[in-house]
Each structure stands twice: as C-alpha cells, then as structure tokens.
Symmetry: C2
Subunit: 713 residues, 2 copies
C-alpha cells in the first residue's frame, strides 16, 4: 500500500461518480462493458459491507442518441435533407434517464443488487429539511444494502448555462458528487474519468507525468488531463470538486473508469489516479516529479565531478573517510537505534546482524575508502590509441556511466562502499536503502554528502527513502543509466521486469561443484564443505553437488555425503542419487536453498556435468575438483558461467577476494560486466578524435593508416 | 497482419461462441463487464456489415445461482441445517435461460441491436428439413441485421451424461458452434475461452508457449490450456470442435474472451489465440516454438564453435571467403532479381542503391573476411591475471556473448559482415533481413552456412524470414543475449520497447558541429560541409550547426551559411539564428533530418554549446572546430557523447574508419559497448580461477596476496 493512501483502511462509505464520458461510447451509446465492470466492482464492495453510493450522469447523451434514432425512423426523405436541429437537452434527459435507469436496474439485478434511484436538483438542497431527510433515506437504503444511484434531475432542473452560478450548491455531477460526499459524510469520493488522473502537462506530451498526490501550493492551476469528449465536467470541474470535498474532509481520488479494476485498486490503497487529501500539503514526500529532478541533479553534479582534476576527487574520498571516523559515535547512536527498533519489531537474527555496524567497521570502511582514493585514476584512462591518418589520432578513453540507481537491503555499510565507488568513478548516484536501516543510512548519507564540495553539489548522491518512489525512478530511462539491485531474488526479478533501464545483477545463484573421478578426495571434501557451509545464504554458495559415477562405487560419494550430513546439511537427490542414497527427491535442480540444504546428483562424466550445469544452473560460479589437468581445462573452457573454478571453493567469487576493492554486486548477465563488479563495471568508454581539419569526402579525404599507437602518451 | 491470418480479409459470416466460463464469474453470476465488452464488439461487427451469429452457454450456471438464492430466501433456519441437495440441471437451465436471454436482449437493445433467440437440441438436427429451414431463418434474421443467439435447449434435451454420444451431431456448445459454422457456411468460427488459447504445455509452466497455429502432425494430443472452472467444454472439447470445423472448411480461432478487444483483433488478422485452418499443415512457417528451437540450436552450435581450436575458426572464414568468390555469378543472379522486383515495386532510389551488390563488392567482402580471419584470436584472451593467494591464480578472459539477434534492413552485404564477425567471435546468430533482399540474403546465408563444418552445425547462423517472427524472438530473453537493430529510428525504438533482452544500437543520430570563435574558418567550412553533405542519410551526419556569437558579427557565420546554401542545404534556425538570418524557425532541436537540411543556432560560448548538446543531442558524435587547444580539450572532456571530435568531420565515426574492421552497428547506449561496435562489442568476459584446494573459511582459509601478474603467460 502507498503510504499516502493509508487512510483507505478506515473507509466504509464511498461515493463513486461516473460521468458521461465513462458510461458512454464515442457514438453516444452506453458503454456496456465498462459500466458492467464498474457495477461488478460496486457489487463486490457492497458484499464486503462497504456502503456504496453511485452518482451517475450520461442521461442526456443516452437520450439524445435515442431521440436521434427515433427522429430518423420517423423522417421522410425530404425531412432528412433539411438541416437537423439540435435536440432539446431537457427532452434528451427525460428520455435518457428512463433508459439509463432501466438498464442500471437490470444490470444490478443480475448481480443480486437492489439499486435505488434518487434524482435531485440544486433547488432541493436549499431546503434544510430535505437535507436531513435525504441523509435518513440514504442511511435506510444502505442499511438494506441497496445502492443509491444519484443523478441531477436535468429534465426538470431550471438552471441553464452557464451552469456554475452564484448559488454555489452544485452545478454539475462532479460538484453534486462532492456535495453528496459531504452531506452523507462519506469516507472517500472516487471521481471516475476517461483519463488516468491529473497530469503535470498535456497528457499527449510524453514529458507530462501523472500527479499522484495533489499538493495545492505546487499544482494549483494545473488542469491538464482534460480531454473529455462529452458532457460538461472535464478535468477542471473535477479538480474543483475534488479540492472542495478534500478541504471539507473527504479524501478524493480522480481515476480512470476505463480500467476494469480501478475502484478495487483505489480501495486497496494502490497508487492509482490523483489523490486529493486535506493533509497532503503537509506530507513531506518525494513526488514523481521529484524523482526526475533528483536524477537530473545527480547527472549534473556527476558532470561537474568528472570535470574536476583527479586530485580533487581523491580529496573528497579522503575527507569522507576522515568525516566517518570523526563522527563514529554519532553513527553508532543512529545505528544502535535502528538495531534496537529492528530487534523489538522481531526481525530475524540474520537481518539484525547485517544491520549492525560492528566495532571496527567504521575504521575498516575508512581504510577501504582511502585505498580507493589512492588507486590509479580510473577516469580518462586511454585504453587504446590509433593513428587513423596523418594527424588524425583516435583515443578510446574510460569515462563514467552517468547516474546509477542502487537498491540495497539492510546493510548500511553498502551505502558507504557504493558511494565511495561512485565518487571514484565520477558517477551520480541514487541510493534506496532498506527502511530498517533508515537512521543509519541517513547519517551516513549526511556525512558523505557533506564531504562533496559545492563546486560539484551534494545532490551527486541522492538518498531515496520510501519504497513507493522506486516505480517512478525505474521509469527514468532517459536519465538513469544503470540499476543495480542488491537483495533477494524477488527484488532483482521485480526490478528486471519493470524497467527499460539496464539492470546489473543476478537473480539466482545456483552454483555447482563437480567432483570428478580423479579428484583428490580430501581436497574435494574441503571444497564441498566450504562451498556449502562457509556462508550458506551467499549467492556463491554451492546449491548442487555433482559427483562422477565412479565415486558412487568406490566410497568417494559416501565420504562426501557423510561429511555434509555431519555438518547438518539436509540432502536431496536427483533421480540417480536419491535412489542410491535413499534420500528425498529434489523438487527441482534449479533451486537456491540459501541454507544448509543441498542437492546431490550422480553424473556419468565431465560432459554430463557440463550439460547439467548449462541446463539447470544460473551461470554464476561453477567449480570442478579434479587432479586431471586435461579434464579441468576442458571444464574451464566449456562451462559458460561468469566464474569457473578449478580446485577452489565457489565462495572465492567476490569482489574483495578477487582484489577488485569494493564491489557493487555480482553480475550474471553477459552484457557490460560479468561476475563481481568493482570500478570497471561503473565505467564506460568514449571515443576522442583529434584532427587538423580532416574530412571523409567519400573516403577520399584522407589516406587511412590505422596505426596502433601506445596508449601511454 | 500475420500472414497466416490473411484469410480474414474475406470473412463475412462469423460464428462467435461464448462459454459458461466466459459469461459468468467465479460466483456463478453473470460477468456483465465481460459480456458487455463482447456485445459491444459484436455490435460493431454487425454495423460493419459482418454477419454475426452468437452461440452462448451459461444458462445452467445462471439458473443454479438464481435457484440457490430463491431456496435460501424460502428456507427456514432448520432447512438450512440440512445438507443441500444439488439442484436439477434441467430446472437450472429453464430458469437460467430466461434470465440470460432477458439480459442479453436488454444489453443488445441498449446498443440498438435486435437479437433473436434460437434454442436447439441435437434431435432437431436429425431432421433434414429442420436444417434447411434453420439456414433460411438465420439468413432472414441476418438480412434484418438481427444477431441470432443460439444455445442448446438444455431444459428439454433428453441427452444425459456422458454427453458425447455416438450420434455425433453435437454434445456441447463447442460442438454445436462447430456444427452451426458448417451448417450456416460461416467464414470464421471464434471460440472464446477463459485462457489465451492452446498451449504447448500446462499454462502455469513458464516454458509453455501459446500455439499460434495448430499443426495437426505436431500438436495432435496437445490439450493444454484447460482450466475451465465451470461447465462441460474445456480445452479438449474446443480443440476437437475446432479440428472438426477447420477440416470441414471453416477456419477457427480459440481466443480469450477475457480481453476486451480480442474479437476485433482476430478479425484484423492479429495473431491472437490459436488458429485452426485446413491448410495449416502445409504452411511452411517458423512457429513460435520454432523460434525458440532456432535460438537454442544457435547457442549449442556456438558452444561447439568456441570449443574449436583457433585455426579451425580461421578456416571457416577463409572457406566462406572462397565460397563467396566462387559463387559470385550465382549471388549476382539472385541480387539482380531482388533489385528488379524492388524497382518494379517502385521502391525509392536510395533503397535500391543499398540493395544492389555493386561490381567488386563480393571481392571486397571476401577481402574483409580474410582480414578478419587473420586478426589475433579474440576468444580466450587473458585480459587480466592476478595471484589471489599462493597457488590461486585468477584470470579474466574474453569469451563470446552467446546468441545475437540482428535485425537489419536492405543491405545484403550486412549479412556477410555480421556473420563473419559472429564466427570470428564464437557467437551464434539469428539474422532477420529486409524482405526486399530476401533472395540475396537466402543465397548468401546458404553459402556462408555451407562453410560451417558439421562439428559445429549450420544452425549456428539462423536466417529468419518473416516479420511476424520478431515478436516471438524478442521474448526469448533466456536464450538470446543481445539484439542489434540496424535500421530506422522507428525500428530501433520499437525493438527497445518490446524486449527485455539488452539492445545495442542507436535510435537517433543528432550530431553537432560547434564552430568556436577561434576556428580556422576555411577548416570550419570544410568540416561543416563534409559533416552535412558527404552522406546526409547517415547517422553520423551533422544535424545542427552551433556557431559562436562573435562569428555572427565578423562575417564567419555568413560564410558558413552561404556555403551550405550553395550546396542546396535548407536551413532552419533556432531563436537567435532565425531572426538574424531571416530563416524559418526549427520546429525542434532534437530532429534528425537525414537529408540536405540543417538547423543553425548561435551560442554565447563553448559552455552554451555544451549545454545545448547535452540538452538536445543524442550522445552520438559531436565536434568542435577551434584553434584554441584549451577550449578544445575542455569540449573533449565535457561533452558526454559516444564520440567527441576536435577539428575532424563527424562522418569519421564509423567502425571501418576507426580501424575496427567490420562493424555491427553504432551504440549510443552507455552500457557494454559505445560508439562503433566491432569484435570487442561481441565479446564478454569470464573469470577463471585455478587453485590447489583453497577454501574461504571465513576469509581465514588463505592469505590474500592480490599480486598483479602479466597477462602474457
């Protein structure tokens, strides 16, 4: 649930308004499919003990359609030659109301819902007694679980255009809905429209964004979203009605009536349409426009950062390290509070452990930042240098990617690692940490950004604090260059499925150890145990042990099984292993246990092992244990994974252990960066060409030499 | 339109069958929204002079719901304690039929459609007279534009379960629909279901694919898709009915009735649901299952290719080159035919020019293949070598990406270039060329794959021939590693928007030349002209000329303008330039003209030029012309584009001119490869770790040394 929509938990009485544009089609006829799905949702609410009140319009349109048809049927050919007079609105309303209500009644009956019709005019509301009585009538109807359907009694109303008059009671069905929401003390008013809600600009402009929460001081005067085909109403009227009702205390959501599930979603607190709420102005929040601004600011700061001399970037890192050490006690206070809250909330031990900044951690972080500060400048490195023609020199140089979005869970030290890597590589950064670490993240972010000079701007590193902003950020494929999720498989998959921005990471870590017939069995035992139990929750832990068939008859397999069981590892078997070892059958070979559980299977030889790995693995890290160099080299050459090991534990697959310094994550994708990703994965390249006026001129402009030059100047 | 659906162009009479699962909800009540949207589509067809016949079921369900309610209302508390007897099906049908038809009539009336009810039993069809009369009745109704609604007369039918009996006339509403389609000589039967169509496996299994066209010999016995909640029917019955009707000559589409637009889409020839057609078995086509098989085969072949010794891969390329030269006349015949057909079809000159393999082209291609064959082996190169600990050596090595999908237009020589790059880099390839080059592509593909040895397999390079297969291929993010579109902006954007596979390429090429105040004006003139007119349709041609403001007063700007106009270049201006030069205002600064048209704007200085480029450019290639080295270096450092030039034409941004050999395209994305992409962009890396039994053991297992070693062994 969107936190700004939390109020829906207490909603009981709901007024839903459907306008002409929603209930009719382009040709003026009733949009039966759309009306039907709205009615089904209302029936569902009604059966869930919500009190549902419907405000409908569309009678004039429906009547006009019907009268036109009649006139056509009754016309002579000569009649039809004459210009057609516009039909009288009152007449249309009288005819339309009839047909509309008949079909509404019929549709609701089909759903076992008793509906009731209430036609009102603004004059009625001038009478205080009417207002009391109306409220009583509606209460009685709702007590009987009947859905009251309100409509302006257009056929007898004496008001004429311009409809909005000084009486200020109501002047269209939007203001009627707002009025009823107040009179009947509704908890929520939903205005269904033919667009998604209120937009920051014309909906046809791709830069326009849907406004999720209307903030008066920010959005006043914005009335985009208006493309109402028919009727009065339109977005202007809706916003006005919504502001009035919200001010009087009834929250309002303007949402599309064209989507089959929107009423349900609004009541589930999903961020559908535009919310108007009297407290919205005081909500401190990052709106969707804010997300874009944040990303653009990070990009601008990153461009300034990369424009600095190398020494200045180094100095930022050294200042960061000093500041973290100087403020260790401050950090500790915030982190202790996070840990305390998490413990009291009953979070599991492993999360609390990841959350805790243990003694010495700040010093270790400061040390790693200083190591990073002292590494060779990664930006602007000349990777390749070619003379294309006389006086025309091409260089391929390293440069920052731009703006990275990192979504990480629990560990506040990840914030420091990633931020220091970003500064070293000249990148802007948007960080979204876990809410359990919010105080730790906030203080670390504050200390880090304080070290960034004004010439760059502290917005280089943005801290995103609420989960709802992620969908907005994931839409910004024009500003954000790479997303790195660090967390559960589910998080990674969700992000991959919901963005066009490239995602670097891995969803699964299904790592294999294959023990060949020629393995040194003592070594195999050590490696298998370490790969499984050193840290079972890690992505580089072994999930499947493949064993050469010869070991099943010479006792080798038995030794491995006993060792694993001795360490409390639960074993599941593939078809061969389960029958031989009398253990339970593994449900799937593509399963990441993340605990002291492991699948075992017996394979015919190294070829079968490789086939198994290609078929069921996740191309993360796979290992062979063998004394036969030829078999080992074949395995190393053929296995198509990010990391392939011979006689070493899969647990070595890690940025720090690989000597890359800090790591932003491990990638199993084949594009850009693969395996543990450090500084290199945060850089891209740029081609720099220096000439003296050369032109191509159909390739007759220069004589190509294509001479490789030394990258060192 | 999908080519297999071309028959819809001649469809006039359509039978649409909606089953219980479609017209009712989970609770047995009518799904009014769904029924409504189906009716709206039928009304639309009816008004477009299609002849629409509806076969409906759902009466039993609707009646059961209604009777249960009645029984509840009439029950005493004691009654309700007793076990509830199942209601009689016949009674339910009698009650339900009534209510169902009332609501159908009402809904259709609302849409100004007159519907008519026809209840039939299998017995009726035993009478030949009835069959003649039925046909006449339906013809009369259709002539009056009334929609006949058929249903089995369950209330009086004497058949009992098992319903499918030896009479073989009909036994459920699916077989009734098939029977009516034949009796009434319909041109199309649409069976609406609660799933998308027939699946190759259980729909819950992510590996199951929707079968778009049922091929008897391939799919016989497949009945997945069945999850019907209610009623008889189910996918088994639908497939049986569909096979029968299709065999008798009426094409059938099984599609979901849950999507609001499916009937319309089916009649537009879109590939919705599963098609049954009597000629389907003889259609030679790549089905969606075929697309997956093609990609998997390419991956398997690529793994064998990279397993070959380097010399063997070199030999394939040399054989390819020889074969192309030896068969030049054969290639010419096919290419001439393509060119001839294109000319007669009135394709524009530039397309015909790109399509033509000019004299000497084959020799040039063969030469470039031989150059590629002789280049240093790109696979397995050790890019980095580190000793992690004593006896534990880590290598970062180059390796193929896997399977690439290349979508290219017109130029058949691109096929040869890309295929040779793929073989050099050990990648599998799926190629989709333009249909105008189909003969040329076919012969080139044949000659190239003939050079691939059986130990690798000719499926290494798949040629995809029809456009409809692209959507299927773009779904295969589990097998295809990279998509490279080479064609129009529109093609690139479409592909980027419709796949999760990484896309390498560029949508726009908005390249700038900025002429600084200190420019050598003769040089500026040469570069500006070359950048604009050497090949205006190229992505690296200049679209916007930015000029320092000082040049607008010292005559420099005037010289550039006159030169461009002299070459027939049409000029548009930004706000400053248009008023000063009295030229038309440019509609947008982000516009790729691709012709002798160009935007000009005057900027204050190099900073303003860079801001303009960042704001309006596409990060492709941007150039500064200046004699001031300091300004030049500032520009080269700050401009955030794939290629940044000083005093050289933007037209140099090209794989061949950069000395990369053949190129697969130019990338403006920041991930993986940037600018012209040759061999390097078709490779990724793999980490190889060789140990002697080392384990991590909480990082106490080894003493890390992290010593950089020379990559050369």
């Amino acid at each position: 649930m969107d936190s700004t929509r939390a109020f829906v938990k207490n909603v009981k009485r709901v007024v839903v308004k459907v306008g002409t544009a929603v209930v009719t089609r382009d040709d003026g006829r009733l949009a039966i499919g759309r009306v039907g799905s709205i009615f089904e949702q209302l029936e569902e609410l009604n059966s869930q003990a919500y009190e549902v009140i419907l405000v409908s319009s569309g009678a004039v349109g429906a009547g006009r359609q019907r009268l036109k048809y009649r006139r056509l049927v009754n016309s002579s050919f000569a009649d039809l030659q004459k210009p057609q007079l516009e039909l009288d609105g009152k007449a249309c309303a009288a005819v339309g109301q009839n047909g509309l209500m008949a079909i509404y009644d019929n549709l609701f009956s089909q759903l076992d819902v008793t509906s009731s019709q209430l036609l009102v005019t603004d004059n009625d509301f001038r009478n205080p007694e009417f207002r009391v009585q109306l409220s009583q009538t509606v209460n009685s109807l709702l007590a009987l679980r009947s859905i009251p359907i309100f409509n302006e009694n257009d056929a007898i109303s004496t008001r004429r255009a311009p409809y909005e008059d000084s009486s200020g009671i109501f002047w269209d069905n939007d203001s009627l809905a707002a009025l009823l929401a107040q009179e009947l003390q509704a908890d929520l008013l939903i205005l269904l429209s033919d667009v998604e809600g209120l937009y920051s600009g014309p909906p046809s402009d791709p830069h326009s964004k849907l406004i999720h929460t209307y903030i008066k001081e920010k959005h006043q005067g914005v009335t985009f979203g208006d493309k109402s085909r028919v009727g009065r109403g339109g977005m202007n009227a809706k916003v006005k009605a919504a502001v009035t009702a919200a001010h009087a205390g009834t929250p309002v959501v303007i949402a599309s009536g064209f989507a089959a599930d929107n009423i349900r979603k609004v009541l589930h607190g999903e961020r559908i349409g535009t919310l108007f709420h009297k407290d919205a102005d005081s909500w401190i929040q990052l709106t969707e426009v804010g997300a874009h601004e944040l990303a653009v600011a990070a990009r601008e700061c990153s461009r300034r950062l990369q424009g600095l001399p190398s020494g200045d970037r180094r100095k930022i890192l050294l200042d960061m390290a000093d500041s973290l050490e100087a403020n260790e006690s401050l950090i500790k206070v915030e982190n202790d509070t996070d840990v305390d809250v998490a413990q009291r909330a009953g979070y599991d031990e492993s999360l609390v452990s990841r959350l805790t900044l243990k003694p010495g951690k700040i010093a270790a972080l400061a040390k790693s930042i200083r190591t990073l500060a002292d590494m060779e400048e990664p930006i602007g490195r000349i990777l390749k240098r070619t003379e294309l023609a006389d006086g025309l020199i091409l260089e391929k140089t390293s440069c920052p990617l731009g703006v990275l979005l990192i979504v990480f869970e629990s560990r506040p030290d990840a914030l420091v690692q990633i931020a220091s890597l970003a500064i070293r590589t000249g990148n802007g950064l948007l960080l979204k940490g876990g809410k359990e670490a919010k105080r730790s993240n906030a203080i670390l972010h504050k200390l880090i950004t304080a070290a960034i000079p004004d010439t760059v701007g502290e917005k280089l590193i943005g801290l995103v604090t609420s989960r709802e902003e992620i969908p907005d950020l994931l839409k910004l494929d024009d500003v954000i260059d790479l997303v790195i999720p660090r967390g559960s498989n589910k998080l990674v998959s969700q992000i991959k499925n919901s963005t066009k921005i490239p995602v670097l990471g891995h969803a699964d870590g299904i790592c294999h150890v294959y023990v060949d017939k020629s393995a040194d069995m003592d070594m195999a035992k050590q490696i298998v145990l370490d790969a499984k139990i050193d840290y079972p929750a890690a992505c580089n832990a072994m999930e499947t042990l493949l064993v050469h068939q010869d070991l099943s008859t010479n006792g080798g397999l038995q030794v491995l099984v006993e060792e694993l069981q001795h360490e409390g590892v639960t074993l599941y078997g593939g078809p061969s292993a389960s029958s031989l070892l009398q253990i339970a059958v593994a449900h799937s070979f593509h399963h990441e246990y993340n605990s002291r559980v492991c699948t075992i299977e017996i394979v015919q030889d190294v070829h079968a092992a490789i086939d198994h790995i290609h078929k069921h693995g996740s191309s993360h890290t796979d290992c062979i244990v063998t004394e036969d160099t030829e078999v080992a080299e074949y395995f190393l050459r053929q296995v198509d994974s990010a990391a392939v090991f011979h006689n070493a534990s899969t647990r070595f697959c890690d940025g720090a252990r690989f000597g890359l310094g800090a790591e932003v994550g491990i990638s199993t994708s084949r594009i850009h960066a693969r395996g543990p990703v450090g500084v290199e994965g945060m850089l891209t390249t740029r081609w720099i060409l220096r000439g003296t006026g050369q032109v191509v001129d159909g390739d007759k402009g220069v004589i190509y030499t294509h001479k490789n030059l030394s990258p060192e100047l």
